[in-house]
């Protein structure tokens, strides 16, 4: 992807324009308009460039919003992160036109590696249609002239908040995860300086004690998402708030995972085929979420991450505005794009697009196993639980 980046770089003389109605009134102060008294030829070139940008992108902003130096810095940080799996690499996170905590790290990573030939998918908590996903997709579309898709298997780059898609990712795909809190050790010590020392010494005793205390107090580990995970047997990593369901997918995957935090200005990565192992005890094993045998009410899946929704029971009649309505809990697939495919073909395996079958990727598709759910659930833990 990197070699595609340079193609649409506008000349350096292009200055940025403020994209507001009051442009004329503020231009003098900000000094932001393209100066009109430059040499004619130069002006033409600038105008041509701006016109070219006008058609597709955000007027006057650089390709993919960030300037090339910034993108290069982000890519360098990513390369370093790939070289040291699980290690948090500081980078100078830029203020983005999205609020910090809303995916600014993810979008910086995405925009730094997107090229014009790439297809981009954005999901927020499993859904392409979520407002924040739409907003991020819109920024990439406006500035990077990329195609977007909601089909996981069709995307070159996927930016996600808190989920790894149900469909198996391949070695030519990159998953960028938005990260709110970069350090698994933050649970046990708020100090970044102290935690960096712990990482340097591979000193994770405090986390083990925390887990042990969990077991003593509650009988089991009560960490829900953001499950502390050991990468390559060296660095303890916060896998971002993906559910435990998704953690085993990080292990020995074909694709690259990039974790990017904007507010905390850190990038880390899990390269393909890296050992990733959630912390657990031999008598308190790592477990994924249970859905009590529920299936998706829309597609019938039992092997996907479900979320429960309270819906009005029976006929919903908005006009009557009946307050005595009963509510019932229903379960639905969280990965909305895969759910749509499953509704057309309920038997569709998660690795339907791959040549080989039976790929390890979270809990298995029921049809891949002997049909007994017992087997399916039993294998749930094998990919992540005890790494080879």
């Amino acid at each position: 992807m990197t070699d595609q980046i340079m193609t649409d770089e506008p000349p350096e003389t292009v200055e940025y324009q403020l994209r507001t109605a009051d442009e004329s009134s503020v231009a003098t102060d900000g000094g932001t308009t393209v100066s009109s008294d430059t040499v004619d030829g130069e002006t033409d070139a600038v105008d041509a460039t701006l016109d070219a940008l006008e058609s597709d992108g955000l007027s006057g902003y650089n390709y993919a919003y960030l300037d090339e130096h910034t993108k290069r810095e982000v890519r360098r940080s990513m390369l370093k992160a790939v070289a040291i799996p699980g290690h948090q690499v500081p980078y100078a996170s830029r203020p983005m036109p999205l609020a910090r905590g809303w995916g600014t790290g993810g979008i910086q990573a995405s925009l730094s590696i997107l090229g014009p030939d790439d297809r981009f998918k954005v999901i927020d908590q499993g859904a392409d249609e979520s407002v924040n996903a739409a907003n991020i997709r819109r920024l990439a579309e406006n500035t990077a002239e990329i195609e977007t898709t909601t089909d996981t298997t069709d995307a070159d780059l996927i930016q996600t908040r808190h989920r790894i898609p149900e469909e198996v990712l391949t070695d030519d795909q990159i998953l960028v995860l938005q990260v709110p809190i970069t350090d698994a050790l933050r649970k046990v010590d708020p100090s970044d300086a102290a935690n960096r020392r712990r990482h340097a010494h591979k000193n994770y005793g405090k986390m083990w004690v925390h887990l042990y205390e969990n077991v003593v107090e509650w009988g089991e580990i009560n960490i829900s998402s953001r499950y502390p995970t050991m990468v390559g047997g060296r660095y303890l990593m916060d896998p971002s708030p993906i559910p435990r369901w998704d953690v085993p997918k990080l292990d020995d995957a074909d694709n690259l995972f990039v974790f990017a935090a904007g507010r905390e200005a850190r990038i880390y990565a899990v390269p393909p085929h890296t050992d990733v192992e959630p912390l657990a005890f031999s008598d308190r094993e790592f477990t994924v979420e249970r859905f009590g045998g529920q299936s998706c009410h829309a597609c019938g899946s039992t092997d996907t991450y479900l979320v429960e929704v309270s819906e009005e029971a029976g006929d919903t009649d908005r006009e009557t505005n009946n307050t005595d309505r009963e509510f019932e809990t229903r379960y639905a697939c969280n990965d909305s794009s895969f759910c749509a495919k499953r509704r057309e073909n309920p038997e569709l395996p998660k690795d339907h697009h791959l040549d080989r079958g039976g790929v390890d990727w979270g809990p298995k598709t029921a049809s891949e196993t002997t049909g007994s759910r017992k087997t399916a659930a039993g294998k749930t833990k094998s990919p992540g639980g005890e790494a080879e």
Partner: protein, 425 residues
């Protein structure tokens, strides 16, 4: 998909923006102009510039207008815009004594060289609502003043340089010198740290601390500074002086190499003496410094206290711990992360529900709701591995715990459950 509560697309986003924009102009006969904002609500624009780290009064006025007066949002607009701008040059460092002060008070000494200049301030007025302003007419109350020439700082012939009060004490050797940056050991000019271009790592250099404090959210700087005064810290400073005025922005001319003043920025500055003796063998006062764009004396003084507190190298008090202060003082960070809680959290919350149900089940307090019952029924099938270990040990565990505690265990004094629920983001 009907079940995604916040389902949308671009159209809904645009409509939400339009509704927000409608709020701004609702019932307004006249659109408030950027000039009016810049002129009449200077404190707002100053706060946006200071927290945005970009001195551009008209852009700040535009940002305030667009943000409907939300200063953090306005500062955010400025920062996002600033980050796309080329950085052409660095200015020549400026001496505070070059300031054209419109206000200068020294609480430390009754008389200071250059004198006390009360200047425009509300400090001593009585806080009474002025109902005359409802039908405001723009009469200049100073119109009748008999002024001599030089009242306008722009046209002043030769503005008097104000001797820095701290300098008087420094000459006497009473004030500790700031720690030299490490790079000074190397014999080359030091590049100033720029926290917008390189991430802050700990322990931070003092210039990084000062930059982050100068861009800090006014309320956060005030609150943290107050915490030290309130007793969570040792710093109770005496202000050497507080000044508001204009500082020249000077650059080296690209061709001639001469220093040229290109513009001025209005700033508030504060310096303080802290009666904490810095060294045992050569007792000297500690000190603090604060500077912020625009008129914002409160923030400048708060920053002074925090600079002094951080230099004490303590870690027990919040205001003395640079990591704590820098982590929480930035308005963009706190604003973004606090408001992100409004985003969907279905996935993580489902995971959280799974934990509490499982633990309640283990404690034997699983409620009889439909969900739990079903988990009980099917769980053994679904999670054979999990249940194997769980059922094997659940009884001994329950016995081990205090049986009474099982009843109200879900909300213990200690944080575990609450902490896990809240930090999963």
């Amino acid at each position: 998909m009907g079940y995604v509560a916040v389902t949308a697309g671009e159209e809904i986003i645009e409509r939400a923006e339009q509704l927000f924009e409608k709020q701004r102009i609702d019932g307004q006969e006249t659109d408030i102009s950027v000039d009016q904002l810049d002129g009449q609500l200077g404190r707002l624009t100053a706060q946006a510039m200071s927290e945005g780290g970009l001195y551009a009064p008209r852009l700040a006025a535009l940002a305030v207008k667009q943000a409907q007066g939300d200063t953090v949002e306005a500062a955010f607009l400025l920062r996002a815009y600033r980050s796309t701008l080329e950085r052409f040059d660095e200015t020549v460092p400026v001496e505070p004594s070059e300031m054209l002060a419109s206000r200068r008070v020294s609480p430390a000494f009754k008389d200071v060289p250059g004198g006390q200049i009360l200047g425009p301030t509300k400090d001593y007025t009585q806080r009474l609502l002025d109902f005359d302003l409802i039908e405001g007419d723009s009469k200049d109350p100073t119109a009748d003043w008999e002024t001599t020439e030089g009242s306008d700082p722009d046209n002043a012939d030769d503005p008097e340089k104000l001797t820095n009060v701290m300098e008087l004490l420094r000459e006497e050797g009473l004030i500790d010198e700031p720690d030299e940056p490490d790079e000074l050991a190397v014999d080359e000019p030091i590049e100033p740290t720029d926290t917008t271009r390189e991430p802050v790592t700990h322990p931070p250099d003092r210039d990084a601390v000062l930059q982050e404090l100068a861009r800090g959210e006014t309320g956060a700087v005030t609150a943290l500074g107050y915490s030290a005064l309130r007793g969570y810290g040792q710093v109770h400073p005496t202000l050497a002086e507080v000044r508001v005025g204009r500082l020249p922005v000077t650059i080296e001319h690209p061709y001639t190499g001469d220093e040229v003043t290109v513009t001025h920025t209005e700033v508030s500055e504060s310096e303080a003496i802290v009666p904490v003796y810095a060294k045992r063998d050569d007792p000297q006062f500690a000190f603090g410094y604060g500077l912020t764009f625009g008129r914002n004396e409160r923030k400048a003084i708060g920053m002074t206290i925090l600079d002094a507190s951080i230099q004490l190298d303590g870690v027990t008090e919040p205001a003395e711990n640079p990591e704590f202060v820098l982590d929480v003082v930035d308005g963009m960070d706190s604003f973004g992360f606090i408001e992100h809680l409004k985003l969907p959290h279905y996935v993580t919350f489902q995971s959280t529900l799974d934990r509490i149900r499982s633990i309640r089940e283990r404690k034997g307090v699983g409620q009889t709701g439909q969900v739990d019952t079903e988990i009980r029924d099917d769980g053994s099938d679904d999670d054979s591995g999990n249940d194997g270990s769980a059922s094997g040990s659940s009884d001994p565990d329950c016995g081990h715990d205090d049986p009474d505690s099982a009843v109200d265990e879900p909300t213990p004094d200690e944080e575990p459950v609450v902490a896990e629920v809240s930090d999963d983001d």
